[in-house]
Symmetry: C2
Subunit: 352 residues, 2 copies
């Protein structure tokens, strides 16, 4: 991929920690907010706000349908009320949330209004909001996505904002001109992205694990020089990240997505991308556990943020939390966050 031999961020380019200057105002502040919040909450955890109608308690559904009927509006109202309950219960425990836009988009315009309300509500609660949108397209089109989700759009002489998340996830299949427009907007807006590298799903290896022939003259990778696709993309993310370091702060605002379900690959990718914050989905419901996750973290105990979606927001449907009852779904979510934090913190402590 583009500039794949570009190395790590040059230390010399960054000024000392804590030194605020004009560039810091301009660059990477949202990544620093995220890291600071992880340290404050002692919870490298992001709660996935991926509501499904089957998670939503009967009472909330009934109220929404009474008002709007069994319509897209009714569904959107139900998931919005449901989300609000979750957010109120967990906002002081975690640094960030990750609404998965597909779960809103399926309900059309009303669903996307619920997405927007959720984003805004979480920002009011001072949560960092990672829009899980997995967009990525050719240059001018990626520009439009970046403007709509992280930046501003020009309308006549006005600048308007649309969805306005703090971070979004980006698909790398189209190469750097699908990703750079997001980087450019992040630079302007002090925001960030997480690029898909190795996804958590069972079939992610079909393409991502394929071994790619070494380029002429390359010495990286295995003995033969061959490397899997996810390593190629990981190297590229490290190179993009090196261009996107905040003036003060140890992590780039170009992050990566690597699934908890692939701990071995996580270990390798951690080394390839030392200054990259790794967003790790797949904890809990998808099978990952705290002990599998330690290698996603750097020695400083930072460098990864673990996502759990249904493991938290649908905790009340697990036997373990059934005593909260449907009506106690938000308290169940809070308890699930606390347990997840204990699991991860103790795994990190055991690592020493």
């Amino acid at each position: 991929m583009e500039n794949s031999n570009a190395g790590m961020p040059k230390k010399g380019k960054r000024s000392g920690k804590g030194k605020k200057n004009e560039n810091e105002e301009r660059c990477g502040l949202m990544i620093n907010k995220l890291i600071t919040k992880i340290q404050k909450t002692k919870a490298p955890i992001v709660v996935g706000l991926d509501p499904m109608m089957k998670f939503v308690p009967e009472q909330i559904r009934r109220a929404a349908f009474a008002e709007h009927g069994e319509t897209l509006d009714g569904a959107a109202e139900a998931i919005w009320q449901y989300n609000k309950g979750i957010v109120d219960a967990i906002y002081d425990l975690v640094p960030a949330v990750k609404p998965q836009i597909a779960m809103y988009e399926q309900f059309g315009i009303p669903g996307l209004i619920a997405f927007q309300k959720t984003v805004n509500y979480c920002k009011e609660k001072d949560l960092v909001v990672i829009g899980d949108i997995k967009r990525g397209d050719i240059g001018s089109t990626s520009e439009a996505y970046a403007a709509g989700h992280l930046g501003k759009v020009q309308v006549g002489s006005s600048l308007c904002t649309a969805f306005d998340e703090d971070f979004v996830t980006v698909n790398p299949y189209l190469g750097s001109d699908g990703v750079r427009p997001f980087m450019d907007i992040c630079k302007e807006e002090h925001k960030g992205i997480f690029v898909l590298v190795k996804t958590s799903n069972p079939s992610s290896g079909e393409l991502q694990d394929r071994l790619v022939r070494a380029e002429e003259g390359s010495t990286a990778g295995t003995e033969s020089g061959d490397r899997p696709v996810y390593e190629i993309v990981g190297s590229q993310v490290a190179a993009w990240g090196a261009e996107c370091m905040p003036e003060s702060g140890e992590y780039s605002y170009v992050g990566a997505v690597v699934g908890a379900t692939y701990p071995e690959q996580g270990k390798v990718l951690r080394k390839i991308m030392p200054r990259t914050l790794i967003l790790v989905p797949g904890y809990g419901a998808q099978g990952g556990k705290g002990a599998d996750l330690v290698h996603f973290f750097n020695e400083d105990g930072l460098g990864a943020i673990i996502n759990s979606s249904r493991g938290i927001i649908a905790a009340h449907q697990q036997e373990k939390y059934a005593h909260f009852g449907e009506a106690g779904y938000a308290e169940a979510a809070r308890e699930a966050v606390l347990e997840m934090r204990r699991d991860i913190v103790s795994a990190l402590e055991r690592r020493g």
Copy 2:
């Protein structure tokens, strides 16, 4: 990738042409409608409805801003009015349109309402609508995208539709469990998808052209057995396509996206995916010409549909069509479609 040795659809599985049966009612009808419309219009052309504010004539913008101000609503109204003019001018000439959702999503909720209105309006005009959404995620999330764009969502005891395009584009980076939910919904809804294989942008090769090492025992590809990523994905699309053939009809409802800017790769992919309809972006503004496109077509003169976006919808901004003036933007678009048709048809005739 999954099942990568699966071959072409077995002829024996399909009944003779024109024979309608229960399965035909169930499967792939939208692909047959698209092929039939290509034959009727003699135009293997899809018009990309990717409106940018800078394309929209002053008069339309002024009217929209007068009503809504320089807001997202104002922008959305402007692009909707602009689209309507284009569609009215070209709907009898072409089989299909391809609205690029990013160009609407950047204007937030009002923009997405304009997207929905555009989709509905085009369907009223009997155009086949290809939603260029490039979605793709892990299983349950792809299911939500597929339901929201091609299918129905369950709300209580009701089934509701959200965006309801006829086809959508899908990103293959997550492997088959990101794509199968779309295939499943297509089966139910008689609709189709186009999977990104080789995209038209300059940096598409960074990942898509990487040479992948042959798997043990494989004999496909080059002498060494190595093949570029786009061929791997192309083989997978052919295999998925074989599972998704209409009972009568020569083309699968799992299509592929291959950029006009890469004619050599198009030639190879045409052979790897003989029963796949190829959606070819990158004509005109991105540099492709009719003569470059002949190898995307099969011997039957079918098998490809060429997209042009700004080459048509912003034709009035080209010197060649400047005599139409801004107010004549729709007539300019019509003239540009006619010229594009002549270019492609004569290139196909020259091929003989």
